[in-house]
């Protein structure tokens, strides 16, 4: 086997790199301004309320955090499971994982009611709270993956690569289990309170993370005028197909279980039949765009060697994934909690029994998009400064 050379990613023209970074910087600046505005005015200027307490920023944050742990999979396959084709991609996989996680965390923190009290969250732990565990899991993930990246890049650290790969792999499973359990551990709401949430989030992370990885890898190689072989992309594509199918399976198991339980018929009817925007997001966003179209593009013989089909399938998986998180986070809150089974609520001072309307506002969207921009900017700078990309990925 020929030796693999890694080189910093310089794009065809320096202007393109700096223009790209400037654009990302502008998006981040708008997002920070939005966060300042929301913090300064108070959250009444957002679409969030006492009924929809987590809104669009949380959708972005959870989406990025879930994708982050999945992005590390390629490195794990390379150094933990010994896949030679994946090995050269390990460095970028780790860089992307860190970038996505930091982007998601920034959104999460800036949407807190008191972001200035982050130090309280870092020093005061209630170990019965999965949120407190997540503070440790998220910051630990960045640290472990950073060291893991170091062992992949520095030959003198080579001997630590495998144990760190293992550690990072188990840590990332714990991280997504923790993220899914944020919802799994909520006894109050009918859409949540299910153990399947944890493994479902793990498999969702496999899918979104790989889709992020494929699309950014293709973009980087176009950006840097480098070669990437179809065989390697096809391998990644097939893996994505398996993950998309697995997510679909978990969604099926979750909904079938709910459909069996009379108590959950209301929420199922809401999501699957008459929930308006949420029903549309579920069927068109999550199922059609996020599952059916990518599966067709991945497995149809007509697109067997088409890298554009792979790129489109990855983007579709990401769009579908975003809608999936939206339906889980917002749809689950929009449907009312059933405090009084068998009773109809005829008068309420606090929207009891009503389906809650949520319209996200511009500042919320700006903050969320800025989180994505932070991820991309970190990856762009990281790839320029460190030798993460192989000079060529020809077959």
């Amino acid at each position: 086997m020929s030796k693999m050379y890694y080189r910093e990613l310089y794009c065809g023209s320096p202007v393109r790199f700096w223009m790209g970074l400037t654009l990302l910087g502008a998006i981040i600046a708008v997002g920070l301004g939005a966060a300042y505005y929301m913090e300064h005015q108070g959250h009444w200027v957002t679409g969030m309320s006492n009924q929809i307490v987590w809104g669009l920023p949380h959708v972005f944050a959870i989406f990025l955090i879930v994708a982050a742990s999945g992005a590390l999979n390629v490195a794990s396959i390379g150094s933990v499971f010994g896949g030679p084709l994946y090995k050269p991609l390990g460095r970028y996989s780790a860089l992307l994982a860190i970038g996505l996680l930091v982007g998601g965390l920034i959104v999460l923190v800036l949407d807190l009611g008191r972001p200035d009290r982050l130090i309280v969250a870092m020093t005061e732990y209630n170990f019965k709270s999965i949120f407190a565990w997540n503070v440790i899991l998220y910051s630990g993930f960045v640290a472990i993956v950073a060291v893991y990246l170091w062992t992949m890049m520095d030959r003198s650290m080579e001997k630590f690569k495998r144990p760190l790969g293992f550690a990072a792999f188990f840590w990332r499973i714990a991280l997504t289990t923790g993220t899914g359990s944020i919802f799994g551990f909520l006894v109050a709401r009918e859409a949540y309170d299910a153990a399947i949430m944890a493994p479902m989030f793990v498999i969702m992370s496999f899918s979104y993370g790989l889709a992020f990885f494929i699309i950014t890898l293709i973009a980087a190689y176009i950006w840097g005028d480098r070669e990437i072989g179809v065989y390697r992309l096809t391998k990644l594509k097939n893996l994505l197909g398996v993950f998309v199918g697995a997510v679909l399976y978990f969604v099926l198991a979750y909904n079938l279980t709910n459909l069996y339980v009379a108590q959950h018929h209301g929420i199922e009817r809401f999501i699957l039949l008459d929930g308006g925007i949420y029903t549309m997001m579920f069927w068109i966003g999550q199922i059609l765009i996020g599952s059916v179209i990518p599966l067709f593009l991945i497995y149809s013989p007509a697109f067997e060697n088409s890298r554009w089909a792979i790129a489109v399938a990855s983007i579709a998986v990401l769009i579908g994934g975003f809608f999936q998180i939206y339906v889980i986070v917002i749809g689950g809150q929009a449907y009312p909690m059933n405090l009084f089974p068998g009773k109809e609520i005829v008068e309420t001072g606090f929207f009891d029994g009503q389906i809650i309307n949520y319209v996200p506002t511009f500042p919320e969207a700006a903050l969320g998009i800025a989180g994505m921009a932070v991820s991309l900017a970190l990856v762009a700078i990281g790839a320029r400064v460190f030798k993460v990309f192989p000079e060529t990925l020809e077959d």
Binding site: E39, Q41, G42, H43, W44, S49, N50, Q51, V53, W54, L112, G113, R114, P115, R117, L118, V120, A121, E124, Y125, N126, K128, S129, I130, F131, A132, N134, V135, I182, F185, L186, V187, A188, R189, Q333, M337, L339, F340, G342, K343, E344, I345, V346, E347, T348, G349, F350, F351, D352
Partner: protein, 250 residues
Amino acid sequence: MSNKSDQPSVERRQFIGGTLAAAGALTLAPGVILHAAGSADKTTSGASGEHRWGMLIDANKCADGCSACVDACNSEHGLTDLGRPETDAVWIRPVKLKDKQTGHVDRLVMMCQHCEHPPCVDVCPTNASFKRIDGVVLVDRHRCIGCRYCMMACPYKARSFVHEALSEQSVAAPRGKGCVEGCTLCVHRIDAGEMQTACQEACTREGHNAIVFGDMKDPDSEISRILKSHNSVQIRADLELNTGVRYLNL
């Protein structure tokens, strides 16, 4: 402007000596200090495990169209109506129910149920949500980071997030923008030795007597006597949270 300070003048040497002594005391004797704090109840009116404060709402007596308890709660705790019902703070709310099968109508008020096993306390990452030894569930506004996970976890929708800057707050209930809050069971009154919450006081004044507040651990209290002789229910009893707020005739 006067130069006169209201601070006592302190000699530097005394100050340093005092600081060192205080630091020494804090370093050497935390056990003593903790012990003193733990036994505060014997000498002060701090919370005590000998009580469990609770409330009983009689759905038959809760009068249609009445909002006396809500108004009293709002004025007691300085909750203002900003005309934004989605984001305005609500600590107590009336709910009118109709049985889907029989058409029977009930009216009651909902607030923090002061659970023995409160989900809000379980999920709070920073221990800001906490339960006092006497059963009152509160939010420490100095620790709350405004993550709203407790609002996601509460089965009773009993909490509100402060969505805007506040002014002219009530001394009884300090609040803060970006923090979560809810019914305190008028803990400031309990700690002052008063045996009546603002909502109960208003309900009694209106002549409805639908709210009874008291110590559920004291067998002779009114609430204990009624709970013993009548069949009461907990809302979402299936969750086994052992609520401190119970309902009659529901």
